[in-house]
């Protein structure tokens, strides 16, 4: 009897221990310290100053060196949390934003980061001095002035209450620099990387690699977890994918074509994780509206009607990941047109035979019953530029439009685009933040910096002005949709397909969530590497 009791007690203890152990195993893994993350990246940064550049080749490696004022929550997109800002308050009229900074933040050179540095950095972005470019300053047209009343307070005063202000502030390209270097030379940061971030630039070998090492004195206690990050510069798409397959790199942060993803997953199995976090860019067609026949709305509309975007998505998706027909705002964003609204617009209707008939009728009405010859200026990069060009040419041929495919090397192509030396242009448009209408639709207004076709429509302009001050979210969504419909009804610019980014990473990478855009969540301060 007694033996039985003891036995039962022992059994209970064993069971309890077992349960406890099991529970511990179920709990979250403990972050592991150390290790180098190996990243494959497509090229050299044109300069190191992200305020002046427009490419992920700078944001991806150099986000690790800096902090921003506020940021998108790495573990809860699209919430915005403070980075250098500890907290903030907004005045009742929503025109004064007061940010309180964290104490004890230091730059890599040991000096303290204060509100003066924040003010100097933002002034450089919003009102760039002579000789400094700021491609995104139009996103901050609501800002009137920035003040730094004491070392830990920054005040933004706005011209008008803006619904997008906070998300524009959280844009990942707004690195906070040190005032003393900007005072010496506003272009100092083109050559140097000196911030307050979790990693320090150790070595940059042009054309080969960029190496970051752990900032031992990072102001966020206990971070970062990794010893360093090495970015391997590999220009060829195929070679970058092979680097992942051969386990010479852990991740490629921009995205691979479906054929490469297939190759990697079939070989690596569960050693890699593939994520499809969203649509950061789309490719469409810009018209030079001063050139005949593109000044005629009927011709532009016919060219849109001639494209069967649904068949195109099916054809191009396995090649390029361009897979979703949509308007100027990505289909997953709240301001996007719904599929039903889209189908009402020229070239988005599902009955392609009827579209073709209508296209031919419009061309005949415009005096081009037998079609015409034109030139499509395109970038000589296969994915997705040339592939999409091939589809467009074959679709337009069916309504009699013979377009010559003029392929230009990237630099020439940018020049043709900026100097408007084109008739038709395959035009990439993208978002590097939250896809807010203030960021994406500013490209379609009169004089917009990326309105390459230089069209001008007072109705479009007016809708833009209305939405940018509309604080009621529902009303703003409606205005943004109206603006997109207006652009598409008049076929000023033809949206074609959105790109669904595929990010492939090693399963060793922990505590990391990819965001829709490849510019975002690149600081990696609390990311860690598992043993296997």
């Amino acid at each position: 009897m007694r033996g039985l009791k003891i036995g039962g007690l022992l059994l209970a203890i064993v069971m309890l221990v077992g349960l406890w152990g099991g529970a511990a195993a179920l709990a979250e893994e403990k972050p592991r310290r150390g290790g180098m993350l190996r990243v494959a990246i497509a090229g050299d940064p044109p300069s190191l100053d992200m305020h002046q550049e427009q490419t992920f080749l700078v944001t991806i490696p150099f986000s690790t060196v800096y902090n921003t004022l506020v940021m998108f929550d790495p573990h809860g997109y699209p919430n915005i949390i403070g980075d250098l800002a500890k907290s903030w308050t907004v005045s009742d009229d929503k025109k004064t934003w007061t940010f309180t900074l964290h104490q004890g933040v230091t730059f890599h050179d040991g000096s303290d980061l204060t509100s003066a540095d924040i003010k100097a950095s933002w002034d450089k972005i919003i009102t760039p001095p002579e000789g400094v470019v700021s491609p995104r300053k139009s996103l901050y047209q609501m800002v009137q002035s920035i003040e730094a009343p004491d070392p830990s307070t920054v005040v933004f005063r706005l011209h008008y209450a803006s619904p997008s202000f906070l998300s524009m502030l959280a844009h990942p390209a707004n690195f906070m620099y040190a005032k003393k270097y900007l005072d010496q030379d506003p272009n100092y940061y083109k050559q140097h990387a000196m911030g307050s971030g979790p990693f320090k630039l150790k070595e940059y070998v042009r054309g080969a690699s960029i190496e970051m090492e752990r900032n031992q004195k990072y102001w966020k206690q206990g971070l970062p977890y990794m010893d360093g990050i090495k970015y391997y510069i590999i220009k060829d798409d195929g070679a970058r994918a092979k680097a992942i397959r051969a386990d010479r790199a852990d991740v490629e942060f921009r995205g691979f074509a479906p054929a490469e993803v297939e190759g990697i997953t079939s070989q690596m199995g569960n050693k890699v994780t593939v994520a499809y976090p969203g649509q950061p860019a789309h490719w469409g067609i810009a018209f030079n509206v001063d050139k005949k026949p593109f000044d005629d709305e009927r011709v532009r509309k016919a060219m849109s009607l001639a494209l069967d975007r649904y068949d195109m998505a099916k054809t191009l998706a396995p090649l390029t990941s361009l897979d979703i027909p949509g308007g100027p705002i990505p289909p997953s964003a709240p301001w996007a047109l719904s599929p039903e609204e889209l189908q009402e617009l020229p070239g988005f209707g599902k009955d392609h035979e009827a579209n073709l008939k209508e296209a031919k009728r419009l061309l005949a009405e415009a005096g081009y019953a037998n079609g015409f010859k034109t030139v499509l200026t395109n970038r000589s990069i296969k994915l997705p530029y040339i592939d999409m060009g091939v589809y467009l040419l074959s679709a337009w041929k069916k309504v009699g439009i013979e377009a010559e495919h003029r392929l230009e090397e990237s630099a020439t192509w940018s020049k043709s685009r900026a100097s408007r030396d084109f008739e038709l242009l395959l035009d990439p448009m993208g978002t590097s933040a939250v896809a807010d209408p203030d960021e994406l639709l500013v490209k379609y207004i009169t004089g917009g910096s990326e309105n390459w076709g230089r069209f001008s429509d007072p109705v479009v302009d007016k809708l833009f002005e209305q939405q940018k001050v509309e604080l009621d979210e529902q009303k703003r969504i409606q205005l943004a949709r109206d603006m997109q419909k207006e652009i598409m009804k008049k076929s000023w610019w033809l949206p074609v397909l959105w790109w669904s980014r595929a990010e492939v990473r090693s399963a060793k990478i922990r505590n990391y969530e990819p965001m829709p855009n490849h510019w975002m969540n690149r600081r990696l301060e609390d990311v860690w590497l598992a043993e296997k």
Binding site: D237, G238, A259, K382, I386, D387, Y391
Partner: protein, 301 residues
């Protein structure tokens, strides 16, 4: 008094028709130069494909078809389909047209330009010869493909520019060879006689010297054809030649082939084979043409 000129060859009655003689010549060529004949067969097949592409090609070379993407070779699509669902065989047949057109045009322009410069250089001699040859030296210092690349980069990407870019590097090579033949032809007594009677330089050059350099000229022309096709393929491969969706062999090899080689090896294999075969054919044909036209080599072996 009339002197009867004896016939050079005895004539066999009944076998005197032109057709028969051609057959005999061909048969002799095939028997003595089987490799040359194989080359000629390839060249003829290619020309045939290029000319009758519209009748031979089973499908449209430009039509995309989503349902036919990456189809392996079958009875309906003998060589499979590419990433856009276009028939590979059709595109290879149409590709022959581009390859042959660019090849012929550029080697003709290059060889003819070179021949004219070679004759002028040899005939006029002196300072003209010295300067022309130094310019040729400069051009020769660049490898063929590098020079073509540089020219096409400067002129921009279009069909006429492409032809020019391939033709220019051929000029110095032909000029060198033709100049040496023209130098010896220039020493002939009848050339001196023609000059003594007061013929113009142009007349002497084109009536008395040019016929003597026809053999090396024709040989260079055919020999360069293979090279020109290869250069076109290389330039297209490097993204400087013809542009998609034009069916060009080089483009077929550079476009989808490296990207999908694992998934669809036929995209790389067939265009690669066709390019090698065409260049091989032209080179064999050119080689045996040289043997046939060179009197010094004619009776060897």
């Amino acid at each position: 008094m009339a002197i009867a000129t004896p016939r050079p060859y005895p004539v066999v009655v009944g076998h005197d028709s032109a057709l028969y003689r051609i057959w005999v010549a061909i048969w002799k060529f095939v028997r003595t130069k089987p490799l040359g004949a194989a080359g000629a067969a390839i060249v003829i097949a290619m020309a045939f494909a290029a000319i009758f592409a519209d009748f031979l090609a089973p499908y449209d070379a430009y039509e995309l078809n989503q349902r036919l993407q990456f189809k392996a070779p079958t009875l309906t699509h003998w060589l499979g389909t590419d990433e856009f669902g276009r028939d590979v065989l059709t595109r290879l047949i149409y590709g022959a047209r581009i390859a042959l057109f660019i090849g012929l045009a550029s080697s003709f322009i290059g060889a003819t330009g070179g021949a004219i410069l070679g004759v002028i250089s040899a005939y006029l001699g002196g300072k003209t010869d010295l300067w022309l040859q130094r310019v040729m030296d400069i051009l020769l210092a660049f490898p063929l493909l590098i020079l073509a690349l540089a020219i096409v980069t400067v002129l921009g990407r279009s069909l006429p520019n492409l032809i020019l870019a391939i033709a220019i590097p051929v000029i110095p090579r032909t000029a060198r060879i033709v100049r040496s033949s023209a130098l010896s032809a220039k020493e002939n007594v009848y050339v001196e006689a023609a000059r003594a009677v007061g013929s113009t330089h142009i007349r002497v050059m084109f009536h008395h010297i040019v016929p003597n350099i026809m053999a090396p000229y024709l040989i260079v022309l055919t020999a360069q054809l293979g090279g020109a096709i290869l250069t076109e393929a290389s330039l297209s491969f490097l993204g400087l030649g013809t542009a998609e969706p034009t069916p060009s062999w080089g483009l077929m090899l550079s476009g989808g082939a490296p990207m999908y080689a694992e998934k669809a090896p036929w995209l790389a294999i067939f265009p690669g084979l066709v390019i090698s075969l065409a260049v091989f054919g032209f080179n064999l044909f050119g080689d045996s043409l040289r043997d046939a036209l060179d009197p010094k080599l004619r009776h060897r072996s």
